[in-house]
């Protein structure tokens, strides 16, 4: 059993005047261990909502969801929280660092929540910050970090517990090319560790590093493209253009 994520007919509606908006509209999806999947599509097509549903941050109105073979769509808030500790890592578009904790305290938090020792948590957090080039900013609070630094701290926090799956929403949106390259190298290591990665991105270069590209529109997956090794960003853009989507 290599499927890390399996979603069947996931639906998420939001109330609106008239009929409710179907932000996610019957999505079927599987993600294998060690697989990287990119999700692209125009703004408001439901990419972030899909990510939230897969990580239990929102509840589906319909459909089934399995994580590591366990059905999880009916879990309580507490059960989801405990499950996320070791199984799900999030990278949010808006970073969502805890603004009362320093960079290193943010990164070590998932280890502490999982019951790890403070010493081990601090060591692993510092290693990751070192790799991402922000170790010298470890003692700073988030409001003293640049957007790129915050992004890298958020990535380190998502990876520190080596979760089954990393759900990343625009993980390189605020980074320059050099920092983007470092993040992508880290993501490549996830594959070797048999960790799954689902990336929502507008960046064709980031999307092109995935095994598969999902294209969403109006809450539904309208295309799946298997990307071979060495698929270029241009090829990704071309496949999107064929579908009339945004890159």
């Amino acid at each position: 059993m290599n499927q890390v994520i399996e979603a069947r007919g996931l639906v998420r509606r939001y109330p609106a005047e008239g009929s409710p908006i179907r932000a996610v509209d019957g999505v079927d999806l599987t993600v294998e261990a060690g697989e990287t999947v990119s999700v692209m599509g125009p703004s408001g097509c439901g990419k972030s909502t899909l990510l939230h549903l897969l990580g239990g941050l929102e509840r589906p109105d319909a459909g089934e969801l399995y994580l590591g073979g366990q059905r999880v769509d009916g879990l309580s808030e507490t059960q989801w929280a405990v499950l996320r500790r070791g199984s799900v890592g999030f990278v949010f578009q808006a970073f969502h660092l805890v603004d009362e904790l320093t960079a290193v305290e943010n990164v070590e938090l998932p280890v502490l929540l999982l019951g790890g020792s403070r010493r081990d948590a601090r060591r692993r957090a510092m290693e990751l910050l070192e790799r991402l080039g922000v170790a010298e900013r470890a003692g700073h609070l988030p409001d003293r970090l640049s957007g790129g630094e915050r992004q890298r701290v958020a990535v380190a926090r998502a990876l520190i517990n080596q979760p089954l799956v990393v759900l990343a929403d625009e993980p390189t949106g605020n980074l320059d090319s050099r920092a983007t390259g470092e993040i992508l190298r880290l993501f490549a290591e996830l594959r070797e560790a048999r960790q799954a990665l689902l990336i929502v991105t507008h960046d064709a270069r980031v999307a092109s590093t995935a095994h598969r590209l999902l294209t969403m529109r109006d809450g539904a997956i309208v295309a799946q493209t298997r990307l071979g090794a060495g698929t270029s960003a241009a090829a990704v853009l071309a496949s999107l253009a064929d579908l009339g989507g945004e890159g």
């Binding site: 808030e77 929280a81 949010f92 969502h96 805890v98 929540l113 403070r118």
Partner: protein
């Protein structure tokens, strides 16, 4: 002028958009202004009825009283000398009317099975140029035996014309009941007073009543000259020496001020209570406004970004809160005028129906000043902070950035405190301004509860003080006054508790709102709802602990200032111990409510929460 109009428009819009917060601030302010309004309206509410009786009886402008203790023989020669010298008063050019001198006899009157001190004033049937007592039932003195009772005494005895009263152990018929401003109403004013003819006086002397002095009263061409007239004749006064005899001059204004001490005590108590509540309201308003400012920093940034000047930003906040203060002032004064006559009507010293005094600008200004001071003190600091922050920073941040980590937080982390506790303590430690603001509000709340407990305890002790022998009736009247004050104290304790609770609810709500995004992030990382609730409670308990540690001694300090050594010592250790435990438990419970409500919500919407 244009700035003011713009500020007015924005303030009106803010008030419409956030009616709940505006109402909460209005409620807390109105509690303070309402109590002050009642106190203001109570002061002087007995003056109008007193003035009516004073006019109707041709009341005195200056009175000369000579008194010597009944159980001492007194200096008969000195009394006679004073009587002769007093005649110089009657010859003064300002004097247009003279009453007396009227001799006073001391004796005993039977009331409710016991005896009370009695003064019998000897009067011929009259009429008099000064102080013609206002007969409210029966007849004034005339031929034959009988007494006229002072109206308070008649009420206490439940006696009417035709009944008999027992003076010196003998029955005397009641001819009438009368009212005067020359004496306070029995039983709060002692001794009891009756008017008798010289003929009856002779009989009373045979029964053992003894002379205790006399009173001479004059009316002047201009009553406003009373104080100057009295000052000009101070040489008549006797207040020391080998004799116990005292002789003193008194103006009608002084007698009026002294005539309703129970109402003044109530008003004074309410005034002190209103001031204490106002102090507490400053903290409530500061917490409310600071919490709102934290949420409105973005709006301040937007206003500044579109060209609104810092002065205009402050104006918007001030106009908004001053409007609330103005409303609270008006409502408070209205409440005062409505309630004060009802409270004053319970007075045992009142001559007739109470009337609130005219609403002078001074009275309005005092209540308004308190309300305005509260909002100014609560608004200025957070407003100035919002202005000093750069426009860009205001636009990107939801609240003030936290402080750098401290040694204490590290120490707590190293002590093995569970993670939610560590997170809560870090949150509190890194926002010291918010911690201290919350702690200040809660500290005043705790201090006020301590004061209320001390007052209640002290009054209980007073109420259980054994009565003086021979004063059962007047002690009963004092008990009525204590009951009224106790009711005020208990009401105050209730109001303080309400304000403290409102304070705690405001602190808890804003704390939960402030922490909502951070706690959603924690849950996204794997913290359970229970852990986030615990973290929030721990983060707020620091302020509560400061409040308990600082509030109890502050309350005791305030009490010792108010007490002045006049009241019996209080026995509070048990109550204080209970308070020290109950306040944090209650506060944790209050904080837990919004924290749990937030913890029940899915994470994603909270991540977008501002």
């Amino acid at each position: 002028m244009r700035s003011l109009r713009l500020a007015g428009r924005l303030a009106a819009r803010n008030l419409r958009r956030r009616p709940g917060q505006a109402l909460l601030l209005l409620l807390t302010l109105t509690i303070a202004t309402g109590v002050l309004g009642v106190a203001m309206s109570l002061y002087g509410s007995a003056d109008q009825p007193w003035n009516r009786v004073w006019r109707a009886t041709d009341g005195f402008h200056v009175s000369f009283n000579v008194y010597h203790p009944p159980d001492e023989p007194g200096d008969r020669a000195l009394v006679e000398r004073l009587r002769r010298r007093a005649s110089q008063l009657t010859r003064a050019p300002e004097v247009v009317g003279v009453g007396g001198p009227w001799t006073h006899l001391y004796g005993r009157i039977q009331i409710a099975g016991g005896d009370e001190d009695l003064t019998a004033e000897l009067r011929d049937p009259g009429p008099y140029q000064v102080d013609q007592p206002l007969v409210t039932a029966g007849q004034w003195l005339g031929q034959g035996d009988g007494v006229v009772l002072e109206s308070g005494l008649a009420a206490t005895l439940d006696a009417a014309p035709g009944d008999t009263v027992t003076l010196q152990g003998r029955p005397f018929p009641v001819r009438g009941v009368a009212m005067t401003v020359s004496r306070g109403r029995f039983p709060l004013s002692r001794p009891a007073q009756v008017w008798v003819t010289p003929q009856t006086g002779r009989r009373l002397r045979q029964l053992g009543m003894t002379p205790e002095g006399f009173e001479l009263q004059v009316r002047l061409a201009d009553p406003a000259d009373a104080a100057a007239f009295a000052d000009a004749h101070r040489s008549l006064e006797v207040s020391e020496g080998s004799s116990s005899l005292i002789a003193f001059l008194e103006t009608w204004q002084h007698r009026r001020a002294e005539s309703h001490s129970d109402i003044d005590i109530l008003a004074g108590t309410l005034f002190a209570v209103g001031t204490l509540i106002a102090i507490l309201t400053i903290a409530t308003a500061a917490v409310l406004i600071a919490g709102r400012m934290a949420a409105q920093i973005r709006q301040v940034g937007t206003l500044k970004a579109v060209g609104v000047t810092p002065r205009q930003v402050v104006l918007v906040l001030l106009v908004e809160h001053l409007a609330i203060a103005a409303a609270a002032t008006a409502i408070g004064l209205g409440i005062g005028r409505l309630l004060a006559p009802r409270i004053a009507a319970t007075s045992v010293t009142l001559l007739g129906t109470p009337e609130p005094p005219p609403l002078t600008w001074t009275r309005v200004a005092i209540v308004a000043a308190v309300a305005f001071a509260v909002v100014l003190l609560g608004t200025v600091r957070p407003a100035l902070r919002g202005i000093r922050q750069s426009t860009l920073r205001s636009l990107v941040s939801g609240a003030r950035p936290p402080r750098r980590p401290g040694r204490l937080a590290r120490l707590v982390a190293n002590l093995g405190v569970p993670l939610p506790g560590v997170l809560g303590l870090r949150s509190a430690w890194r926002r010291p301004g918010r911690l201290l603001t919350n702690a200040a509000g809660l500290t005043l709340g705790v201090a006020m509860i301590v004061v209320a407990l001390a007052l209640r305890d002290s009054l209980e002790l007073l109420a259980h003080t054994p009565p003086e022998p021979g004063h059962a009736a007047s002690d009963a009247a004092v008990t009525v006054l204590y009951d009224q004050i106790r009711a005020i104290i208990l009401g105050t304790a209730g109001l303080l508790l309400l304000l403290g609770t409102i304070n705690a609810v405001i602190v808890a709500t804003f704390a939960a709102r402030d922490a909502a995004r951070n706690h959603a992030v924690l849950r996204a990382l794997g913290a359970t709802p229970r852990q986030t609730v615990t973290a929030l409670i721990v983060s707020q308990l620091g302020a509560c602990a400061i409040a308990v540690v600082a509030g109890i001694p502050l309350g005791l300090g305030l009490w010792s200032l108010m007490d002045g050594g006049d009241l019996p010592p209080v026995r509070l250790p048990a109550a204080l111990l209970l308070l020290a435990v109950a306040v944090p438990v209650a506060f944790a419970g209050i904080v837990g409510v919004p924290a749990r409500l937030l913890a029940r919500q899915p994470v994603a919407p909270l991540l977008a929460y501002e």
